[in-house]
Structure formats: C-alpha cells, structure tokens
C-alpha cells in the first residue's frame, strides 16, 4: 500500500450511472488484478474504495457506479484534479492458480476488475473466457474492451434485451478448468453452485479503513475470520462460508 497524490487524467460516463476514471501517479503498489484503491473525498469522512480495472506504470483506471454522495461527487471531477489516494490495497486474483481455460465472470459493477484479470491471464499465456452479466442493454459496458483483447466474450441480460437472456450462469461454456468472479453476492453464490471447478471470488463489503486495521469488513471463512479489505477482497471458493 502507498499513500500518494494522484491526478485525474480522464473521467467519463460509460452508462447512465457507471463512470470510468483514469488517474496518474505512482502505481507501483498495484501488483495484482482485483486490488483496489481508497480515495479521500472532500466533505466525507471515510475514503471510498474502488477496484482497479486496469493499470500500467503511470496510470490506474477505475470504474465506479454512482450509488451515493461519494460516487456522485467523483463523477464531477475534472481532469487535473488532485486526489489523496491509498493505492494497491487488498489481495487480488492469483493468476498462477488459474487453469489454462479460465472463466472470467463479472456482474454489473463487478465487471471492471475482471478486465485487468483477463489481461493478466493473457499475459500469462492462458485463455480467459469472459461472461459479463447485466440487467438490461442500457447498462452494458466494457464488452468491446474484452473483445478487443481477443477474449471470447458472452454477454447476458436479465431482461433479454441483449445477448443471452438470463444470468451469467446461463452462459457457462462446456470446457473450462477454473473460474474467477466478481459481482453481487447472489451471483457469486449461483456461480459457485453452477461451476464444479475451483475458483476465486471477489467479495464486496462496507469498509472502514480499507487496509486491515478496523475489522469493519470481516467475513467468516473455513480458516477463521478474514478481512475483506486486506485478506480479500479475493478469496477462494473453497474457503467461503455462505
């Protein structure tokens, strides 16, 4: 983890309430896809934790959904704005554990970290198979970005307005050896039930500090309680107690 000043390079809407922000600064502390950053916002006490969707040596890209005051304020940030950020938080996806053919499943606001994971899997010579789930056509984002990587990508919508009608579990391919998923809890549960292979899941929880100090975001696992912010957000399917 590193604390630093980051500069907004770009901030744009992807859908009606999902935005993408690119920040420049020291990204050296980001080591794995699925990690997050924690942003201090003026007038709000707690930082806002947002997962990293992509990063390189100088920039990190985050995607956030406007759900409250904090994220609404973020949507108003213009390029050049300086932010106080804790960078490189959490335990991300472990690519080494992924099989040659690994499902990369994202639901709604859970899609962004899966983009970084898909890139990391490709860099490791593996084959990610993406399934992106949304409620309806208007909410879809990042589909083209996955396809542009050359990743086989299925899109599902609950109302059937685009892609396969139904949930991500309605789009599972026949042949894969592992899965990674990020999305709402009911989706994660359904994926664990539907996928017989091992896998890794990124959990979401209300956080206090984001770096393991306050015990605000604990969850019970087979191996005792874990902090979603520090031991997670990515945990293994086998250890999660639903």
């Amino acid at each position: 983890m590193k604390q630093g000043r980051y500069t907004v390079e770009e901030n744009r809407p992807l859908t009606a309430d999902v935005w993408e922000m690119r920040l420049s600064g020291d990204t050296g502390s980001i080591t794995r896809p699925g990690q997050f950053i924690n942003i201090a916002l003026e007038g709000l006490f707690l930082r806002r934790p947002i997962s990293v969707s992509d990063w390189d040596g100088e920039t990190a890209t985050i995607v956030y959904k406007i759900v409250g005051k904090g994220t609404a304020a973020m949507a108003g940030f213009r390029p050049g704005k300086r932010l106080d950020v804790l960078c490189g938080l959490g335990n991300g996806f472990e690519v080494a554990k992924c099989a040659e053919r690994t499902l990369v499943i994202g639901g709604g606001a859970g899609v962004p970290p899966m983009y970084g994971l898909a890139k990391a899997l490709l860099a490791a010579g593996k084959t990610p198979l993406a399934i992106l789930g949304f409620n309806r056509r208007e909410e879809i984002f990042y589909e083209e970005k996955f396809r542009a990587l050359g990743v086989e990508t299925a899109v599902t919508t609950v109302d059937g307005s685009c892609g396969i009608r139904g949930f991500v579990t309605d789009a599972l391919p026949e042949r894969y050896g592992y899965f990674c998923a990020c999305g709402p809890l009911p989706m994660l549960k359904a994926v664990c039930r539907a996928c017989p292979t091992s896998g890794q899941l990124s959990l979401e929880e209300r956080m206090g500090c984001g770096f393991g100090a306050c015990m605000g975001c604990s969850c019970e696992t087979k191996y005792g309680s874990k902090r979603v912010c520090k031991d997670g957000p990515v945990l293994e399917k086998e250890e999660i107690l639903w």
């Binding site: 983890m1 604390q3 201090a40 709000l44 006490f45 707690l46 930082r47 904090g70 804790l86 929880e205 209300r206 956080m207 206090g208 500090c209 770096f211 393991g212 100090a213 306050c214 015990m215 605000g216 975001c217 604990s218 969850c219 019970e220 309680s225 520090k230």
Partner: protein, 305 residues
C-alpha cells in the same frame, strides 16, 4: 527543543500520542507503513476471554465528520493474543503496550486482565466498560457507578499493572462513574468511547448497520471528549487519558489542557494510516506557536486561574 514526554502511572512515555484500541489492530499493519516506535505507546485491539467474530456486516457507516462502527469486539481471544499476537508485536514494537480488555461478566474481565497482566510487554491495562456494540456486558458496566466499581475492584484484585478504566460517554453523570472507579482502586480513567448512534438507508428504509446501532467516532465527537475529560479531571485525582475525534496536534493540546495526561487517536488512523505519525510530527511546531515548552506542564491547564 520542546519536551514531549509525559508520565503515565510512573511509566515514562516519549510523547502522549497513543493509537486507540480498535483502530490499530495489534500494530503490524501500521508497522509496515512507518516505525511505530515513535509512538508513546498504543492500545491494542480489545481482547476478550473467548474468541469473537463480532457483529454481522455491514458494521461501518459514514457520518457527518465521523463514522459509525458496530464491529462488536472481534478478536482472537486472550489465549491467542498472548500466544500469537504479542510475540509478533514484540518484533516491531519495543515499548510497553497498553492491553485493552473487554468482557461480558465481572469474572471475564478479571480472568482476561489477570492473564495479560503477567505479560512483560504490557505496561498498562485499559479496561473497556463502554463498548456500545455488544448486547450484554460492555457498556452496561460503564453506565452505572456500582457496576463500574465492581469491575474495577475485581480487576485490581488480580493485577499489578496500572489499570485504566475506559468509560462511556453515553451517561448523564460521567464524574460520578469516574469517582466510583477511583474509589474502587483504578489507577486512571480513559475516555471517551464512542457515542451511540444510528443511520438509516433511505432506499431500503432500514438501518445501515446490521446491528441497527453503532458507535460514533471521529471529529464529530471531539467537543464531547473535551467536555468529559474536563469534567473527569475535576472529579478525580488519578490521571486521565483523553480521546474522541482527535485528528490534529492542536486537538492534542486542547485535550491536555482539559486534563488529559496522554491522548489517544482513533478514527483518524482509519482515513489516514499515518495520522499518529503526522500528529506527532506537527506537535513541536504547535507547541511553539502556543508558547508551550513542556507538554507535561499544560495537563489540566484550563482548570487553573
């Protein structure tokens, strides 16, 4: 050169800055970020007789100038703390540490305190009779002078190290409770714990916290802390550790003037992991600005003249 040292029940602290229990874990997350030996000491995560997962999540909610928490005393239990956490802590922190203890019965408190009292690393016991987030014990001991005195007596009977009773602000007469602890043998008082609060989610129309209520901390509670430290300083002759929303060096000076011998920093650590180090670094300049040569000399300064 200004003098930052204070003395807490006969033990010299290099400075009065103490990360508050529950915001600093057992120290090592922060030891990865900076050398925590710069601190006066720190109060480790509230420890109970048995391991506890704590309350269901969500346990955290935003508040104006602060946060609500309802963690509910998550900790690995005193046996694991002694066997695993203290040895790990020893590698990164070389000063006496403050052992924060919670319980659900008078016997619990005495049992856990007796075990931690024997640990060489422990310099003081801070007995939390003020946790608002557990449904039995906790705060109920800190809201009546009789119950507070009973816990104090039981802990003092089985320990040798200085015992600080950590009090709740959720009372009408803090002075009476502090006096009851002093009369029962407490070596000091530490306050304030969090203020009982609650937030609702307008969409779901339900409480934001799974526990319904939680403890409010952060700058929002600082004036309450100043008032209560001031009142307790007047009521007792034992030292007071002040805390509640401290986030700057000026806040430290203010609480010391109100009567605090040392100052704990809590919520600030959660939004700025370097908060204690930064406050400490800013202290000498703030002291010079207000003409303070020695911190020890200003303790309770607001009460004189």
């Amino acid at each position: 050169m200004v003098d930052l040292h204070v003395t807490l029940s006969g033990v010299r602290l290099d400075n009065p800055i103490i990360p508050a229990s529950g915001t600093f874990g057992y120290g090592y997350e922060f030891a990865e970020l900076y050398d925590i030996n710069c601190l006066g000491t720190f109060s480790f995560k509230g420890t109970t007789r048995a391991p506890r997962f704590g309350n269901p999540t969500p346990r955290i909610a935003e508040a104006p100038s602060g946060l609500l928490n309802a963690v509910g005393l998550q900790n690995p239990g005193v046996d694991k703390v002694i066997a695993q956490e203290l040895p790990k802590l020893k590698e990164v922190f070389h000063k006496p540490v403050m052992a924060n203890v919670s319980g659900f019965s008078v016997e619990d408190y005495a049992y856990t305190c007796a075990l931690l009292d024997k640990e060489e690393q422990v310099g003081w016991l801070e007995v939390n009779i003020s946790c608002p987030n557990v449904h039995s014990g906790g705060m109920s001991f800190g809201t009546s002078p009789q119950a507070a005195a009973e816990v104090t007596r039981a802990v003092k009977a089985v320990t040798k190290k200085p015992v600080y009773m950590k009090l709740s602000p959720n009372v009408t007469d803090i002075a009476a409770i502090a006096r009851a602890c002093e009369d029962a043998g407490a070596d000091g008082i530490s306050l304030i714990n969090t203020l009982l609060g609650m937030r609702l989610d307008l969409r779901s129309r339900r409480p934001l916290l799974a526990n319904t209520t939680g403890g409010l901390s952060g700058p929002a509670v600082f004036p309450v802390a100043v008032r209560m430290v001031y009142q307790v300083y007047e009521a007792v002759d034992i030292p007071v550790i002040g805390m509640g929303g401290v986030s700057t060096a000026e806040d430290v000076l203010e609480l010391m003037l109100a009567g605090a011998t040392a100052v704990e920093v809590g919520a600030a650590n959660l939004v700025n992991p370097f908060a204690c180090r930064d406050i400490l670094a800013a202290l000498p300049e703030a002291m010079e600005k207000y003409g303070i040569n020695s911190l020890s000399e200003i303790i309770g300064g607001a009460h004189h003249g």
